[in-house]
């Protein structure tokens, strides 16, 4: 029997496939009205009200230095993730299925390979079923170098 890596949730950004560990995904919701914040980085879109709870929203496109596009209400969704004790909503172009890659399908990047610009992408998986490549995203690494300095002091479970 092949050993399997933890389950991943797949989503797309700019027609690229990304994956984050399913264990940090709390829920997926449609785009809700966002209250913008003054003088914050462009990728920090603002706050939403989700069942009476206030949640910060990150535009993952902007965070990954992609072009900003108007969100398509039919496909764009907010993926709510839990990073340590912080909850964030990430806007992605579309949410896809949950996958579980075999160990040999995943190629981890060593530290040397990764350019500072590509921070957060820790590996690539070959999705043979759908004949596509999936970029493995480490959200803690992605936010570590940014204005969200607060992440540095929080522990990850």
């Amino acid at each position: 029997m092949n050993r399997k890596a933890p389950k991943q949730m797949l989503f797309t950004l700019d027609s690229l496939n990304y994956a984050i560990p399913l264990s940090i995904v709390r829920e997926v919701v449609a785009i809700l009205p966002i209250t913008p914040l003054p003088r914050v980085p462009a990728y920090y879109k603002g706050l939403i009200n989700i069942r009476g709870q206030i949640l910060s929203i990150i535009d993952l496109r902007l965070k990954l230095n992609m072009k900003e596009i108007p969100h398509d209400p039919k496909s764009s969704v907010i993926v709510i993730v839990e990073l340590g004790d912080i909850q964030l909503g990430l806007i992605v172009d579309s949410a896809k299925e949950v996958s579980q890659f075999k160990e040999e399908e995943v190629e981890s990047f060593s530290k040397k390979d990764v350019d500072a610009k590509h921070d957060g992408i820790v590996g690539v998986a070959k999705d043979n079923k759908n004949d596509q490549l999936v970029l493995m995203l480490d959200l803690m690494k992605l936010f570590d170098n940014s204005e969200f300095k607060i992440f540095k002091s929080t522990k990850v479970a």
Binding site: L22, E27, S56
Partner: protein, 479 residues
């Protein structure tokens, strides 16, 4: 509880809601194991053939529009349950009258019935607008009573600490051989539990001081024609949205001379300078005023009063002293009833709505470029209003997103006083006032330094609560 037209499973659904998390993780596990296409959110009611009364649909799905595509629905359960475990906050408990819980259950049940009815009328073709609107207004009324109930859950009667205070009084009285009578007043008044808890230590401290330093020994009292037994009175009452707690005694009162002497010798007040009476009493709040020596030989109230004041201030409250030499002193603490709910003004700055607590500003004014003269110095613009000079702070520069400044003739401003200087804070518009419920926000929101918190307005959108004093105190804001 629920009346007619309910599918037989309605009680189960109710329980499902309360035990939502474990239930979901169960169902998602079974989903992944057996790869069944059923979705965890979609429970009983639909299959019972009563789609218009879909009680089984959990309220959270209805409001949040969770994406129910199969793979995601499968995934949604497990991490949610994991999240619940990892988020073990400090467990605190509160005693709640059972009748209040029953009342909430009743309202909730009613709400579910109305929701079903609303769904029923909305599903009709054509939609029965008249009935729907009627139900909506009923739902609104229910929400208001539910809100009030939930607010009241946080409130506890002051009497719950008055007991502790009288014990403190008795303890000190016994150990100092004094005779003290305790009077409690207004113990039925309710106050936010968190606030009351943070007030306990300062209050205990103050009543101890009253007995220890205020009340005289029985013989001394007789000489002064007072009854041998002294009185410490603790009274609590509601004053609008504030709460007032008074601690008064009929002891010897504060001695101005001794306080001043102490203040001079410890260097808090320059020698030779004599402040006004009220200000002299306030000296006992100065940090460093109290020393060990003062508790034994000096009969003022120096012991840790600075700590008491700090605590009261951190609760957004004030503390005042009134004292008559020879006949006693009164300490008055005023604090807001609840920090979680306050009256706020919703303003528009640029295109966005912000909330400003009503207690943070004095008045609103309308500035007219023709009538109100302006001049500027190196720090910014100063405007004259009613023969008073105010420094202009344009909040639109600071908070307005995509705000393009054009010279405007009229401005609406909120007046704030800070360090004896008035500031006119310009906003785009003042919209309305409402009761603001403070909401918790994640640590990442600290990035917005102007905000003290967030709230959800009537339209369901999030708005930031801004701290005008902080904006004024920070550098480079002058317009």
């Amino acid at each position: 509880m629920n009346t007619s037209q309910q599918p037989p499973s309605s009680d189960n659904n109710f329980i499902d809601f309360t035990s939502e998390k474990p239930h979901q993780s169960d169902s998602s596990e079974s989903n992944t194991n057996h790869a069944e296409p059923s979705m965890p959110f979609d429970t009983g009611a639909r299959e019972l053939g009563a789609p218009e009364f879909s009680l089984g649909q959990q309220p959270q799905v209805a409001s949040a529009q969770s994406i129910a595509s199969e793979p995601l629905a499968q995934s949604a359960g497990a991490p949610q349950a994991a999240g619940a475990n990892s988020k073990a906050k400090t467990e605190e408990s509160i005693r709640i009258n059972l009748s209040k819980i029953e009342e909430i259950q009743n309202i909730f049940g009613e709400q579910i019935i109305l929701q079903s009815a609303l769904e029923h009328y909305l599903a009709q073709d054509p939609i029965d607008m008249h009935q729907s609107e009627k139900i909506l207004s009923q739902l609104r009324k229910l929400s208001v009573s539910l809100q009030n109930l939930i607010i009241s859950l946080r409130m506890v009667p002051v009497s719950s600490v008055l007991g502790r205070l009288s014990r403190a009084v008795r303890d000190v009285a016994t150990s100092t051989d004094k005779l003290v009578e305790i009077k409690l007043e207004g113990g039925d008044n309710e106050i936010d539990k968190n606030i009351l808890e943070q007030l306990i230590d300062p209050l205990v401290h103050m009543v101890r001081n009253s007995v220890d330093h205020g009340i005289e020994m029985p013989e001394e009292r007789k000489q002064k024609n007072k009854s041998p037994s002294g009185t410490v009175k603790i009274s609590a009452r509601r004053l609008g949205s504030n709460f007032e707690i008074k601690i008064s005694d009929d002891g010897k009162g504060l001695s101005k001379e001794r306080i001043l002497e102490k203040a001079h010798s410890s260097g808090i007040v320059q020698r030779g300078f004599v402040p006004e009476t009220k200000d002299i009493f306030k000296l006992i709040f100065a940090s460093g005023f109290s020393t060990k020596a003062s508790t034994t030989e000096f009969s003022g109230r120096g012991v840790g009063m600075d700590v008491v004041q700090q605590q009261v201030k951190s609760l957004k409250g004030t503390i005042d002293i009134d004292s008559v030499d020879g006949s006693g002193s009164t300490f008055t603490i005023k604090i807001p009833l609840s920090l979680a709910i306050f009256n706020g003004t919703v303003v528009k700055i640029g295109e966005d709505k912000y909330v400003i607590p009503n207690t943070d500003y004095r008045e609103t004014i309308s500035l007219d470029a023709n009538k109100n003269r302006r001049s500027s110095d190196q720090k910014g613009t100063i405007v004259e209003f009613n023969k008073e000079l105010m420094r202009l702070v344009d909040l639109r520069d600071r908070l307005g997103n995509k705000f393009t400044k054009k010279p405007d003739m009229r401005n609406i401003a909120l007046v704030v006083e800070h360090e004896n200087q008035k500031f006119a804070c310009i906003v785009s518009d003042i919209l309305y006032q409402e009761q603001i419920v403070l909401k918790e926000m994640g640590p990442e929101t600290k990035l917005v330094k102007e905000a003290t918190g967030g709230t959800i307005l009537g339209d369901g959108k999030v708005a930031l609560i801004i701290d005008l004093l902080k904006i004024i105190a920070s550098k480079g804001i002058a317009a």
